[in-house]
Symmetry: C2
Amino acid sequence: MTTADGLSADVIVVGAGFAGLTAARELVKRDVSTILLEARDRVGGRVLNHPIGDGQALDVGAQWVGPGQDHMIALADEMGVKRFPTPGAGMKNVDYMDGARTVHDGDVPDGGDPATLIETLNAFRTLTQMSEEVPTDDPWNAEHAREWDAQTFQVWMDANIQDATAKTRVQTAIEAVYAVEPHDLSLLFMLWYAKAGQGIMNLVSTEGGAQAEQYDGGTQLVAIRTAELLGDRVHLSHPVRRITQNGERLTVEGDRFKVQGKRVIVTLPPPLAGRIDYDPAMPAIRDQLTQRAPMGCVIKVHVLYDEPFWRDEGLSGRVVSDTGPVRVSFDNTPLSGSPGVLVTFIEGGDGRRFANASEEERRDAVVQCMERYFGPKAAKPSGYVEKDWPADQWSRGCYGSVFPAGTLVSCGSALREPVGSIHWAGTETATMFPGYMDGAVRSGERAAAEVLELLA
Amino acid sequence: MTTADGLSADVIVVGAGFAGLTAARELVKRDVSTILLEARDRVGGRVLNHPIGDGQALDVGAQWVGPGQDHMIALADEMGVKRFPTPGAGMKNVDYMDGARTVHDGDVPDGGDPATLIETLNAFRTLTQMSEEVPTDDPWNAEHAREWDAQTFQVWMDANIQDATAKTRVQTAIEAVYAVEPHDLSLLFMLWYAKAGQGIMNLVSTEGGAQAEQYDGGTQLVAIRTAELLGDRVHLSHPVRRITQNGERLTVEGDRFKVQGKRVIVTLPPPLAGRIDYDPAMPAIRDQLTQRAPMGCVIKVHVLYDEPFWRDEGLSGRVVSDTGPVRVSFDNTPLSGSPGVLVTFIEGGDGRRFANASEEERRDAVVQCMERYFGPKAAKPSGYVEKDWPADQWSRGCYGSVFPAGTLVSCGSALREPVGSIHWAGTETATMFPGYMDGAVRSGERAAAEVLELLA
């Protein structure tokens, strides 16, 4: 590992997730000298491969892309990492509600009370209509911004969905998309994020939606190959502790290094960016933003089997359930078809309940769910892999910052506003697909463009 | 200034506000070796004197005490700092609503629509009743915890107060007590904090309430004298950057020092405690708490006059107004009677509007308000002193952490739960008068007791 100590460059980029890698690459393409500092001993940020042999890997972090996520798709294409469709298209999905397991074609369960279905769809339709009015650049200026930012999504659900099962369905979908509970989420934030992600229906959909495709060999490959192009500009195990602006002179320091530059791009999510020591200290509104944009909470869990046995029964591997910890699942079997892999997310209240549990307890609870949905063969997994993102020191949650009531209206404007020579990137700052890899790539491009214009 | 580098002690206390000073003192009383590390070049934390000559000082931080705040009162008594009643008892208060200025005796304005008054009082009565059910030790276990933590105080107001003026009155009171806007506040948190402060009526009251008395010479005197008793155990300008637990060995480090101990008491408010680098990293729930307990926002402003001219007109100096930036004010004239001082708080939305303004613009806006309430003499102040707490690097807001919807239920239990050898104090961790100086003192006593038991 090469130390960055003593180096200088025009631009220092903090964080080697897709935002930082992209920003650095854009700068390097234009011959701007760049240093990329990464706290971890690896690149990729919230994207991470877990190798399972034969060149195959599980995505224990972000993995899916879909229509409209063109900037991530273009980057991966350029890096020669191949997409393949999320398995399960045309197969049957499992639905588990009120103690009853049913299987159905398509996205919509055909069992149960039709009134429930109608109310569920109406809720999504209403949310879609509301989100239309929210400007993606400045959601705090939406006509109903104050009203919607004053309430949590839970309050909206309670006021607008009467049917208990419909409410459970909407809640399950929201928890899967945002990785928090409805009470953690400002309605305005929920609508903005959905709008910027091409609509809540897009975000909850697999075929033709945000979960449409994934990467052969694991998504981190894209990050690793991008980093290779940056060569020795990338410095791993270099957590940044302090950024000092002294007139034109900008210093970025860690425990055992100090580098200098003209501009810095910080790509960390707001709560982690807030943990850097800034000299001079951040303006109040920027600091407040970092105090009130907590990370979502999710443990991503893979259950491995010798083969994807559910496919033989015509099942997609997808589940929607009212009974945790497995409330949603997907087939995450590698392109080769082996091993068979089901993936789920322990989120929200389930995440808290299992936070103090042992890995074995979580594993047992997850496998029990899988057996309920996929039958006795699911009871005998060949492997179990979990990634606890809230416990991860350099992410402290996933998928991204989720704004509680009041934050967007009070301090949203500080999300991208540079402070002196400090620029902000990261998926949280994106105006298209915030919270997604595509948003991260876009934010890196935007921040690089900001800096390039100022350096020109 | 003496460096702490290389020292060791049984207990390291981080932060020399009232929580840390009290904890250190309790430990020292019992002959436990103690090191107190403070980031600033002074003690007192969110309590700060601004000297105005003749041994007099303005309290630009916390200042008032009232019935039930016995632990703070006992400490100040012991330090020989004298209380005096907040000026204005028995005099008339100014009310400014809907463009009309009226004066009235007592806490309740006698002008306006009686229906407004009834609805205002009913709202406070209902809130008082609701808060009765909230246990102060574990508010997340209240019967209605999930329901109340899912909604903001704004949502509760909108659903329960019809009269616009009544709503303004309640909002003004809440903003004065919590230093945030109603949408920033979980209803459960609001109720818990009120209950723990002996009821919302106590918190909004001056005579016989939480603003009943203040300290001659400035409250920071109490901190300064407490620190004097601790002598060279107190190390100023020692910001703590990292706490490492390695078995029994605990190391606390800053930029230019490293000390060792058996136990550490961190007294910083959660968002600042979250900025310390912990090795091993904090458990997820504790880290999440620090991500979602932002500081309130308030700029405390003093306007000085040659004399308290309003007293000659029978006015208390107290205002309640629907027109900012001065929505509440108090007479803060020193015990000597000179100079005349009015104090106000720029909070919530006003705070944001004025955050980017110059001090002169804020001063003009404040003085204009004072003129509106107290007549032409108020237009010619002899001085203006403001303290912008959200901009203060080592507080990043005031009065204290305010929990948005979802936080208490999701991670409240991490407030006081020790992590290995790390104990938590600070007013935010108090179960009586959280957010107040009294809560800080109590928290220091509680944390010291925790540590003493473990060291015994």
